[in-house]
């Protein structure tokens, strides 16, 4: 294992910010794994730290295949993480909206540039990322429709779902999108935690990454190969919203199978406790996402359901 500083930002008031990479093996740049770009993505750093331990062990056992190399960048934004802030510590910009970066630009453009120069020539790119709303997902591989996405390859992770959505204008400055423009096969992996550690979903994603690398001939690692992934498009999901605000009393959890008309949740008045809205499932299906904040605004998407009648 080699630890190297990919980018360093000097500061007058704080310790310098060092973005570190951990590389394993030698030869072609096979896979780059990036953890947190936001300061609250604790689970994402944790997963990287666990992977680094595994790669260190595999390297000592000569199980990184000849001519292959792996780079892990656990955290792109230590300065924000150390003060508990999601976006950049001074101007609140999002580093994951600054790629490919610009070495003569603003601070977060320079950070993005410093990272991207080190990661833009890998065959595969894996990013652990998070959603802008609080909530839990079924672990899945998330892709944008760019014309470069490779759905079949994404199934090699063996996660339950490969999810593809249409790219929006603001997506064009994400790491994932720019990796694809630079001909890296890029995948975003979502777990059901962000600012806390969830061991179960972390283990599932770690296994998925190792299984993928084993199938792609980068490492030698015998593990359970996971699921035969199902491909779903964003347009297939059924959104469940509420027109009321108040306490969100959730009954159905992520990955639950629900039947049409089944009670999913209630919105209750924060003072009187009166039930303002009963949230019923509009379809038979599996809960792919649910919000998990205790109080919610009206018009908040509470659930996203994968419709299916195949419920056993």
């Amino acid at each position: 294992m080699e630890e190297k500083i990919l980018f360093e930002l000097c500061s007058v008031y704080r310790d310098n910010m060092r973005i570190k990479g951990y590389s394993f093996g030698e030869g072609e740049h096979s896979v780059c794994i990036v953890g947190a770009t936001r300061g609250n993505e604790v689970q994402q750093v944790y997963i990287c730290s666990r992977l680094i331990s595994v790669f260190r062990q595999l390297e000592s056992q000569n199980k990184i295949r000849n001519g292959k190399s792996v780079l892990v960048v656990p955290c792109v934004n230590p300065h924000s993480m150390n003060i508990g802030k999601r976006f950049w510590s001074t101007d609140n910009t999002d580093i994951n909206r600054m790629f490919p970066g610009y070495n003569l630009g603003e601070t977060t453009q320079r950070i993005a540039d410093g990272v991207f120069r080190n990661v833009n020539d890998f065959r595969y790119g894996i990013q652990f990322t998070s959603f802008y709303m609080q909530g839990s997902f079924i672990p899945h591989v998330r892709m944008m429709k760019t014309g470069f996405e490779d759905i079949e390859l994404a199934k090699d992770f063996g996660l339950p779902y490969v999810f593809r959505r249409n790219a929006k204008p603001y997506d064009t400055t994400t790491l994932n999108y720019n990796w694809q423009l630079w001909e890296t096969k890029a995948f975003s992996l979502y777990t059901n935690a962000t600012d806390r550690i969830d061991e179960e979903s972390a283990a599932e994603v770690i296994n998925a990454v190792l299984s993928f690398l084993n199938k792609r001939g980068i490492i030698e690692y015998n593990c359970h190969e996971g699921y035969i992934s199902k491909f779903i498009k964003g347009s297939q999901l059924v959104n469940v919203k509420t027109s009321k605000s108040g306490f969100f009393v959730r009954h159905a959890r992520v990955n639950s199978k629900v039947r049409k008309g089944e009670r999913l949740a209630e919105i209750t008045d924060p003072y009187s406790g009166e039930i303002l809205d009963k949230i019923l499932s509009p379809t038979n299906g599996i809960i792919f996402f649910h919000a998990d904040q205790p109080v919610i605004y009206s018009h908040t998407p509470l659930y996203r359901i994968i419709p299916t009648d195949d419920l056993i």
Partner: protein, 309 residues
Amino acid sequence: MVQTVASVGLPIDETLMIQKNRLIPKKGLSGNEKRISIVTGTHGDELEGQYVCYELQRIIKENYDCLTGIADIYPALNPLGIDSITRGIPGFDLDMNRLFPGSENGSMPEYIAAKIIEDLRGSAAVIDIHASNIFLEEIPQCRINELSKDTLVPLAKKLNLDYIWVHSSATVLESTLAYSLNVIGTPTLVVEMGVGMRITKKYGDQLVDGIFSLMKELGIWSGEVKPPKEPIISDDGEVSFINAGSSGVFLPSVEHWKNVKKGDHIGDILNPLTGEVNERIEAEKDGTVFTLREYPIVSEGSLIARILA
């Protein structure tokens, strides 16, 4: 008449409302009147537009007979942000000006964005007033995407601004309010002026004069107006950026909106711990400083100035 454009229930006994005040001619509406919409407060830390909203209405109300069309005033597209001194949308930490055109079926911010677009659609002109941010001071200027310049530059010239910057198109900007409205045929001009968290009255007065000039051009105002000043118009090629090469405390040596020559001293980045100058910043070319760093603390890469050649 104050109208609610969008409303969303908040969890604890409060409703978030996006409101506008609609001013119409004294004699009522015939149905053929044109409409100008003044919007501001998308970013909660940008306050320059608040004075413009007030002053514009004060003058209209004192000269109501001159109003021949509709003036819709939206002082706060992000009221929670303004009230809590938060640039983005509190609770989501999202930049509201990256959410348009929004979606009625999306989350709360996307829903509000969609309702705003629906309400503004069809205006003869929309003036979207911004105030830089807390870090930079800007001269009164209009920023126009090159894709819309043929429609917008003639309108912007009426706004009594110092500068019109026709900038190149970027995909990421397609999620702004202005882009989303221009693409559906509602001409929208983005004004930047002053600095975040402050109100610069002289800039506000300058823009108010310009808005009346545009209203007269559009047939919405029949009163006397001051002739707008002739703005400088440029594209990206004439704008150069100066970014900090080191961290520290920036102390300017030049004044905003003044001419500089190549090699002139723009300012220093100081180190308060060691008492040393970390970096001396000089102009790389002749020009006018139209953007200048206001907030003293800088990191490597922080924008110090923009110079118009």
